[in-house]
Every structure is written in structure tokens, then in C-alpha cells.
Amino acid sequence: MNVDLALRLLFQMQRIRRVEEEIALRYPQNRMRCPTHLSTGQEAVPAAIAEVLRKDDFAVSTHRGHAHYLAKGGNLPALIAEIYGKASGCSRGKGGSMHLIDLSVGFMGTSAIVGNSIPIGVGLGLSAQLRGSDQISCVFLGDGAIEEGVFYESLNFAALRCLPVLFVCENNLYSVYSPLAVRQPSQRSIAGMAAAIGVAAATCDGNDALACYDQLREAVAHIRRGNGPRFLEFATYRWREHCGPAFDNDLGYRAEAEFLAWQAREPLARLESRLLAADGSAAPRIAQNLAAIEREVLAAFAYAEDAAFPAPEAAFQGVYCE
């Protein structure tokens, strides 16, 4: 095992977890007043993405985008300030949790409309190809988004033009409270369908950060060599409610046993125990990382809570580029 790599992956996951859980903790104070979708439980894929993408690569994401933004290197205080609706938020308070952007690291935006950002990511890939750059474009999407027509149209075009696009599908089994069973035929794999459209595809355990890393690294290398788009489907699971800070298994849309089984395959603890088994001396470094994350996250929240709201007239500015 590459201990340094494992430590970095663990760090990324711990950082994402800590951010999401601090949001969950403070959300009931009613100061983050916008629909907010947390990625707790789904940290492995974004952590691996953080390792395999370059800063100048592009990424676009969805309503559940905090982890993707952080993985791409997005500014943490600006993320938290955005959720608090502050002027120094990454979208200056205009967008909230569902509309995140950090151009300085190629994070090109997230959308609150399911499927909306898929073709935009493909277009970013087209821009890289037209400019003769070796950048790639990463499109994050959920299992629900593949039901939109735009998914098929986008993959078709990416395959047709051999575009440098990495499709990262986090299949967490649900779209809001609707299980896959009421939305897609059983026995049909999402990756298989992407392959049938003409985009080379594979599946992966999305709660195993090292496996995610291996698959993503290989896919990125393939794309960067000019071999066209790749599609990876990751099996994972959202812990908290679809939208908001609470747990919602009490609603009855999913079985407690299913939830517990996925929690047992929790990505952070899994990697940590493997890491410690491989190198017992990693423990102090993990502790140091956790302490650093703690300081960083609390500072980001302090910054966001103290930050100024935008001036009222800002609401009316920026409809057009002057």
C-alpha cells in the first residue's frame, strides 16, 4: 500500500465529512437558509477525484455538490459563506448551496436542475479539444440524472466527437425518496447502458477510496491520451436526508437494515483500518490531519458567520454582463 496516498485520500474524506457534519450540526440554527444536500457517506469518490484531476481540469456537478467543489480544490470559507448567503460566498450569495463555483480551480458550476450540468460538462470537454489542450472535463451526476433525455444526448455527442470527458456517476440508489426499483428496470446496469451508447464504462465500489482511485486514475490517463470519454459508476450511499441536515430513515422509504449495512461499509473507517494495518506509525499523522481539519473547518464557519451580507442593491445587479 502507498501509505502517503492513503493518508491523502483519508485526509480528503475526513475533511469533506467534517464540513458536511458541521453544516448538519449548525443548519437547525436557521442561518443557512437554502436547500442543502449533504454528501455524508459519499466521501470516497470525491476524495479520489482530488488525487487524479489537475487543477486546470474542469468539473461540473449537481445539487449535491459540496464534496465535489472541495475535491476540485474549491475555497472552503467561500463555500460556507455561500451557504450562509454572504457577499463573500463563492457565488456572492446569489446561488446558495446548490450553485457553487470556483473558477480558479476549474470548478465551473453546479446545477439545481437534475441533468442540467451534464451537457455543460461535455461542452467544456469540447472547448478543451478545440483549443488543443490536454485538459479533461469531469461531470458528476447521480443515478437519477441518467433518466433524463439530456443524459443520452450528451453521452452520444461525447462519444461521437471523442471528447475528453470523465462521467462520474454516484449511484446512491435513490432519487429523493424514490428507490431505483420504481425508476429503472432491475438487472440493467447504468454503466452497461453508457457502454452501449459508446462510452467506455466500468463499475466500482464507491465506498472504497483506494479502488476509486485506481479506476479513476486509469480512466483519466485514458482520456488524457485522447482516447475519448469514460464513464464510471460508483456504488455508494447517502446517510442523511435527501435535502437538509437530519436523518430520515423514520420516514420508511428505506430499510434501517439497508442503512446499517451501508454504514458498516463506511469509507473513512475502512481506509483508516487498512492504513493502520499496513503502517501502524500512521496514527499520529492521522491525528495531526484531524486537528488541522478541525481548525480549518471551525475557522471557515467563523469567517462565514461573521461575513457581511450582500448590499440590497446587489439583488438587481449582474443580470447581464456589462
Binding site: P35, G85, K86, G95, V114, E148, S178, F309
Partner: protein, 351 residues
């Protein structure tokens, strides 16, 4: 009569329709989930079965076309979307197929579908969860567009929509779902077209739609204390529009204020003012006014939505100005509620 909230009235209308007519079906994202689209589809699956009541893939455009096809085959689909914004993916099927079918094929068959769309507002719904695009739908010949403001009308207009032979877009404001009112039991049909006289008065005609009817009533109660007697017309439907009803009121009052939950430019309010100016200019004793959303996407930040929407205070101040009265204590008597981004304490976000 039973006192029901708006969401329960919709639920009751669906039960009545499905009970009366076995060809009525109901589907949409979340229709059978535990939250049942804010309670509006509660118990439908248990009562009418999985064949007639079902969840669907996240595929708005195709599932609208499916509704059109099913309707051509003798089914009456009622589809629902938790936000109007999500339904924008289906504009092709709605506009190019549903709205055209009857006309384009020489009136041989029609498309009796009902599309329920929820209009979001508050708690940082932001640019893509809060759009009031009724003007888009009202612009399309062949569509009917309904915007109830009371539980009774929600029930009566939904039943009328379901049994109308044409495609109907039924717009429900999220801030109305908990409003309570008396609702007649059983099969209730409120005709699509005639407006509702919400308050009789002689000094000014206020035309409102959907949630703005509620804000208008707050304003009118204050204006009463100032000795001003407003007539309030609740449009109920924005296509068709009840022109005789509006003209008759304007002839009486000579003054027109139109309230619109959508963007001002290209709005239903603009259409109403244009028609009144064209048809009843001699009756108008001052320039008509509209209060609508600014031509700006709705921002997310709590700070930026402060004062952003049309509230009772804005309506009352506008009426006072139109009548040449002092504003006096209107700002103190009708402040924007705190917090401004929720319709009441029942609404705690996040959706």
C-alpha cells in the same frame, strides 16, 4: 363543507376524481413517497392501486409525452412536479404536442391532461426553484392555465381541470399549501374562466392571482381603515382571462392595479393592462399600474430577498399613490414580516 388546507383540498379533489372516473391516473416524482408531494397525493396509491398511482423516472419531457399519448388512448393523466422549474424540460411535449394536437389534426381528438406545477418561494429557493412562469404557458394557444388562491378553488378548479377535454397547467403556490378554508364536500366543479370577486368595492380594482390574493387582502384590510374601498378580483385562471369581469369592475372604479407573481416584462399583468387600455380607455381615470417581480432572477441569500417580493405594504402604498392619498403610516402598519422568507411558522425549509 369541511375546513381543509389547500394541500388537503387538492388531495380531496384527486380522491374524488379517481373515485368517479377509473380512467384518471396520477403520477409524478414522489407521488407515492412518504411525503406525498407536500401531502397532496397522500393515500392515493393505497386506495386506487399501483397501476393508477405511481412514481416515475426523473424524465419530465418523456413522461409528459407519455401523458399525452395515454390521454389520446382514453386515459386522464394528472401529473405533478414539485417545482415548475423542473417541468421546463418538458416544454417541447407541452407546447409542440399537447397544445397543438386538437387544432393541428382538425379537431378530431384532444389531450385531456392536467399538469400540476408547484411554484416555490422562500428559504433560499433561489434562481431555479422559484420561477413563476405562468406567462409562458398563458402565451400558448391551446393551453389552459389555472392559478387558484383558496382551498375551495383548489379543489373545484382541479376537478374542472381533470375533466376538461384540453391540456391544463395547474399552478399551486407553495405558500398557499397550508392556507385553511371551507371546502364543499363531494364533486365540486369551478368553471375554468370566470374570475372570483374576492371583495366588492368602489374606489379601485385590484386584480390578483394565486398567493398575491392573500397579500392583497392584507393591504385591503389596512386601506379600509384609511377609508378606501377596494374591489379585489381573484383571476383564478390566466388563460382564459375573464375580460368581461375585469372590464365591468374597471368601468365602476376607473382605476386598475394588477398584481402578478411573475416577472413584469411580458407578464399576464401587462396583458391585462394592455387590453383594458385598448378596450376601456374612457373608463380609466388614472394610469393603470402593475406590481410584479423585478426582471431579475430570484437570488438565494436571505439578505437579497428582503423586500424583493410584492408584499401587502407595497400594494397598499401603490393604491394610496394611485388615489392621491398620503402614505402616512402604511410602512409601520404593513411591514414585511420577520423573517421575510417563510409564509408562516409551519414552513421550516429546507424545501
Amino acid at each position: 363543507m369541511t375546513a381543509l388546507n389547500f394541500a388537503a383540498a387538492i388531495n380531496q379533489a384527486l380522491h374524488v376524481a379517481m373515485e368517479m372516473d377509473p380512467t384518471v391516473i396520477c403520477y409524478g416524482l414522489g407521488v407515492t413517497d412518504p411525503k406525498a408531494v407536500f401531502g397532496t397525493t397522500a393515500n392515493l396509491e393505497a386506495r386506487f392501486g399501483k397501476a393508477r398511482v405511481f412514481d416515475m423516472p426523473t424524465a419530465e419531457n418523456a413522461m409528459t409525452g407519455v401523458a399525452i399519448g395515454a390521454s389520446l388512448g382514453g386515459i386522464r393523466p394528472v401529473m405533478v412536479h414539485q417545482r415548475l422549474d423542473f417541468f421546463l424540460l418538458a416544454m417541447d411535449q407541452l407546447v409542440n404536442a399537447a397544445a397543438k394536437w386538437h387544432y393541428m389534426f382538425g379537431s378530431q381528438c384532444s389531450v385531456p391532461i392536467t399538469i400540476r406545477l408547484i411554484l416555490g418561494r422562500g428559504w433560499g429557493q433561489g434562481p431555479t426553484h422559484s420561477q413563476n412562469l405562468q406567462a409562458w404557458f398563458a402565451h400558448i394557444p391551446g393551453l389552459k392555465v389555472v392559478m387558484p388562491s383558496t382551498p375551495e378553488d383548489a379543489k373545484g378548479l382541479l376537478l374542472a381541470s381533470i375533466f376538461d377535454p384540453n391540456p391544463v397547467v395547474f399552478l399551486e403556490h407553495r405558500w398557499l399549501h397550508n392556507a385553511v378554508g371551507d371546502v364543499p364536500d363531494g364533486d365540486l366543479r369551478t368553471p375554468i374562466g370566470p374570475l372570483r370577486l374576492a371583495r366588492r368595492g368602489g374606489d379601485i380594482t385590484i386584480v390578483a392571482m394565486s398567493y398575491l390574493t392573500v397579500e392583497a387582502l392584507h393591504a385591503i384590510r389596512y386601506l379600509e381603515t384609511r377609508g378606501i374601498d377596494c374591489e379585489l378580483l381573484d383571476l383564478r385562471t390566466v388563460n382564459p382571462i375573464d375580460w368581461p369581469g375585469i372590464y365591468a369592475s374597471v368601468e365602476k372604479t376607473g382605476k386598475l392595479l394588477v398584481l402578478d407573481t411573475g416577472y413584469g416584462t411580458g407578464s399576464v399583468a401587462g396583458e391585462i393592462i394592455a387590453r383594458v387600455a385598448m378596450e376601456r380607455m374612457p373608463s380609466l381615470r388614472c394610469a393603470p399600474v402593475r406590481l410584479a417581480m423585478p426582471d431579475v432572477p430570484e437570488p438565494t441569500s436571505f439578505a437579497l430577498t428582503q423586500g424583493f417580493h410584492v408584499r401587502a405594504g407595497d400594494i397598499a402604498a401603490t393604491v394610496l399613490q394611485m388615489l392621491g392619498c398620503e402614505l402616512a403610516d402604511v410602512a409601520e402598519k404593513l411591514p414585511e414580516p420577520i423573517p421575510h422568507d417563510v409564509p408562516g411558522s409551519w414552513f421550516t425549509g429546507p424545501f
